[in-house]
Amino acid sequence: MAAPLISPAHDGADAAPEFPMSRDSRCPFDPPPGLKELQEQGPLKKVRLWDGSEPWLVTRYAEQRAVLGDHRVSADTDQPGYPTKATAEAGEGKLSFIMMDDPEHARLRRMVTAPFAIKKVEALRPAVQRIVDGLIDDMLAGPQPVDLVEAFALPIPSLVICELLGVPYDDHAMFQENTKTMVRTTATPEERGAATREIAGYLAAQIAKRLAEPQDDLLSSIAGRVTEGELTDAQATEMALLLLIAGHETTANMIALGTLALLQHPDQLKLLRETDDPKLVASAVEELLRYLHITHLGRRRAVTEDIEIAGQVIKAGEGVIMVNEIGNRDPEVFEDPDRLDITRDARRHVAFGFGVHQCLGQPLARMELQVVYSTLYKRIPTLKLACALNDVKFKHDAFIYGVHELPVSW
């Protein structure tokens, strides 16, 4: 289509479009069509946010990676120009190192990198396989239809992260509920504050226990840093909170939304169901991460020193939003980008972000998803959606995209 995308009939051709934009309800797996249009128009575009501020949207893969890899942008939500997501985010307590810049970010992140090394995560694979098999046994023994989110997608990452941190799984209902509130964009500041305080209080108590009596878990190693004087009590709690919530909703949404996407692409599901090749399974995980890009709404940063992006100088004090969901659909990088093709090499996707904040839990997320995608559809080959696609409720209103419920039968 060669026609101009912005016509004078709009409220002035220069008015910045509003962000975030809505998806096309007929294409729940695709980013908002308006974003693709902006990407076609150029690498940079000013948009207007809920608070009237006008940060720059970085629309293409190459520039997105360049900016996320640049030390002149800051992840600190208190920096002038930082594009906040909703009223509740401004002025809230910091969520540990995900909202910090180097060198402090690096100092804190390195305290918890050890358990996420590839080989350590590999060693957990048999335990994750047992968890996945056990949940499938339970589903098969139970009534149909069943909500796959509640029965399968959420318990897996919960069990795994609880195990890693050393948090008793019996307490998972409390933080599952609270995490849901924390990632819901429509939550009021009061609701979000209360949810955060409840989990934080719980984690602080767990850390205090380990200060007295260390165990062999990640919370104990965080507690150890407090003993050494490297972290304050508050910093230790924030760090535990970050790990608990970052590893929770994300992976769960990839399990449920990924399953729905595969059910809607039966040829791809068949490939996955019939393969015994771990390479194809790993490739399917990368492609689903690319295609679904659940951390929608963009990676956001404040510019702290003038920086040139695609020939344009962005001034210190301005905000930038790297919309990685369309970076992952950039035709310069991914051929036929809107097609789900589990055989393509999608490893260069930016679903885990890029730069120093790139997802710390990615090896764990990958392994969990590999186990799930290589097990669920083999063990329940007739798995199907138990409602119309139209009736599935998508998480348009959450920081992390996915489905609220996924009724399935077999």
Binding site: L68, G69, A106, R109, R110, T113, A114, P115, F116, A117, I118, K119, K120, V121, R347, R348, F352, G353, F354, G355, V356, Q358, C359, L360, Q362, P363
Partner: protein
């Protein structure tokens, strides 16, 4: 070709290990280490992939 790794830039993403297991590993803290500095032709593509996916620009190939 020779691989160079700037370990103080590394953010322990593990991406290089996944891309080129014969060339990269991680220490006890998850920070990348080099298993071999000289890479033969058979490993060249994998190392290039590691460079492309490293989020911290910590890896380089140098001509000798």
């Amino acid at each position: 070709m020779k691989v160079e790794l700037e370990a103080d830039k590394c953010v322990a993403s593990g991406q290089c290990v996944l891309a080129a297991m014969e060339v990269f590993d991680q220490d006890d803290d998850g920070i990348a280490i080099l298993l071999e500095e000289q890479v033969g032709d058979d490993q060249l593509d994998n190392v290039k992939e590691a460079i492309a996916v490293c989020p911290a620009a910590a890896i380089r190939l140098v001509e000798q």
